[in-house]
């Protein structure tokens, strides 16, 4: 059978052919576009996520590898802060589950498993067996690290932070490709009368882009607190990917700085694009 194709039909076929080829070409090019995007330094792929908030009123902490011991002193304040429930619990309610036998510290143990904290133990104890001295925290927002080599800063780094920010701590991670800065910022209001001298604390992640440091992620860690310290450790998150765990130590007074002192450790998982990590390119 002969199929007659006139000129008009030919031009229609031609147009469809062109469209078909164009669509196929576009689809074929998609992986290339994605690949080129991933190969390029990508600032959007760095993220910071809070994965823990541990608090001890009149208490202590101890951090070792992937283990965190929290001791809350509850006898004076007659209430216990439970870090799993994330709320206060009355002592007689808590004693239904864990006998206190008059011991003055409520002790919880948390362990890190693939980037997630899980409570593995809790009991009451006479005194903290292992603890970290928070020392004199920055109760008047006085710490502001200088731009010298020791602190690992230069003037350019400071310029990218919000105006009035005071740098409390700095650390380089991922072979120096990322900088973690903990800084206080100017508060928008005033704290309660029981929290005099406190200030907001922020975490900034900086990366080099065209030889200039830029903020690639940030988070407000505390609205009203004192800075007490920071540290980072390498961890492996779910899926086997490497990441960095940031621990931010702070304290928050209520009225007297002698008695009612809360101490807190917030933890953050910092992750960046895995492909760029493998290629060891600057982010």
């Amino acid at each position: 059978m002969r199929v007659w194709i006139n000129n008009r039909s030919r031009s229609r076929v031609g147009r469809w052919l062109v469209r078909y080829v164009a669509v196929v070409a576009l689809l074929a090019a998609l992986p290339l576009v994605f690949a080129s995007q991933q190969a390029k330094p990508n600032l959007a792929t760095v993220n910071i996520k809070e994965n823990g908030d541990f608090r001890a009123d009149l208490g202590y902490f101890f951090v070792e590898d992937g283990r965190l011991d929290v001791y809350s002193g509850w006898r004076d304040i007659d209430v216990i802060w439970d870090n799993m429930l994330h709320q206060y619990v009355l002592p007689h309610d808590m004693e239904k589950e864990v006998p206190s036998r008059g011991a003055p510290y409520y002790h919880e143990v948390y362990e890190l498993d693939r980037g997630e904290w899980g409570r593995t133990e809790r009991n009451f104890t006479q005194k903290p067996a292992r603890y970290l001295d928070f020392g004199p925290c920055d109760a008047s927002d006085q710490i502001n690290l200088p731009n010298d080599f020791v602190a690992g800063l230069d003037a350019g780094t400071r310029k990218v932070l919000p105006r009035g920010a005071k740098i409390k701590g700095v650390t380089y991670i991922e072979d120096g490709r990322l900088v973690v800065i903990v800084a206080s910022t100017i508060p928008s209001g005033s704290p309660s009368i029981y929290q005099t001298g406190t200030y907001p604390l922020n975490v900034f992640l900086l990366a080099l882009k065209k030889d200039k440091w830029q903020i690639v992620a940030s988070v407000q860690a505390e609205q009203w607190a004192y800075y007490c310290g920071m540290r980072t450790m390498d961890i492996v998150v779910n899926g086997g990917q490497p990441a960095t765990l940031l621990l931010l130590y702070s304290s928050f007074p209520e009225g007297s700085r002698i008695f009612s002192v809360g101490r807190r450790i917030r933890t953050y998982v910092i992750r960046s694009n895995s492909e760029s990590q493998q290629q060891q390119q600057p982010i």
Binding site: V79, H86, S190, F259
Partner: protein
């Protein structure tokens, strides 16, 4: 004969009694647990959002017919509207100086939670709910932010109502709010504390001064 309010209250309490201890707090009416003891939490409770806290305080203010602005600013002055606020010690003082025993300051009592409810008010039955029924402030004000808010507003409301009654015509809502706070933060005898002003025209007392600053921002 029971009033409509009593019937409503009975019905709510009956409903509350039937609920299991794990009853969701999110669905809780401000009345459901009024004066009722809570059990140990069974499930993980997330920190309430600021909006959730403000909604709850606002509802309580409406129920007691007192200004929301007053309730918000008291919560702000006391804890920065923080439902997880630390207990705050009040020291024993003599002649304006803290009394020490063996080198340690002596604590008279404690203030708890977002509204900084004083421990001396716990287990006293002289506060009233929004329907005028007496109830006891329970131990739960130490651990449950909603119970704390209910107790705080129940203590604040009569102070504001008294200021409304006591203050002369022409007084402003700000005057009444200041008097109510001076009483809430102190005692009925200190309700005129806010009238002592410094050269700048603001209250001399630090707590009253702080409250006024917060009040004007809300």
């Amino acid at each position: 004969m029971k009033s409509l309010g009593d019937i409503f209250r009975d019905a709510l309490h009956h409903h509350a009694d039937r609920e299991s201890p794990s009853h969701s707090h999110n669905e809780e009416s401000p009345y459901l647990l009024l004066g009722q003891k809570t059990t140990a939490p069974q499930a993980a409770a997330a920190t309430p959002s600021r909006q959730e806290v403000l909604n709850y305080l606002g509802q309580l203010a409406d129920d007691y017919h007192i200004p929301r602005k007053l309730v918000y600013s008291v919560a702000d002055a006391e804890s920065g509207v923080n439902p997880e606020a630390l207990p705050h010690p009040n020291y024993l003082k003599r002649n304006g100086k803290i009394v020490h025993k063996d080198g340690t300051p002596v604590i008279k009592n404690w203030d708890y939670g977002m509204m900084q409810v004083n421990s001396s008010d716990i287990n006293k039955g002289d506060v009233k709910d929004a329907h005028g029924h007496a109830f006891k402030i329970g131990e739960d004000v130490k651990s449950d932010w909603r119970a704390n808010a209910r107790a705080g507003v129940a203590l604040l409301a009569p102070a504001y109502k008294f200021a409304e009654w006591e203050q002369p015509p022409g007084s402003t809502a700000e005057d009444r709010a200041q008097q109510a706070y001076s009483q809430y933060n102190g005692t009925p005898q200190t309700r005129d504390r806010y009238l002592k002003q410094g050269r700048d025209g603001l209250p001399q007392n630090g707590a009253d001064r702080n409250f006024l600053g917060k009040y004007r921002r809300w």
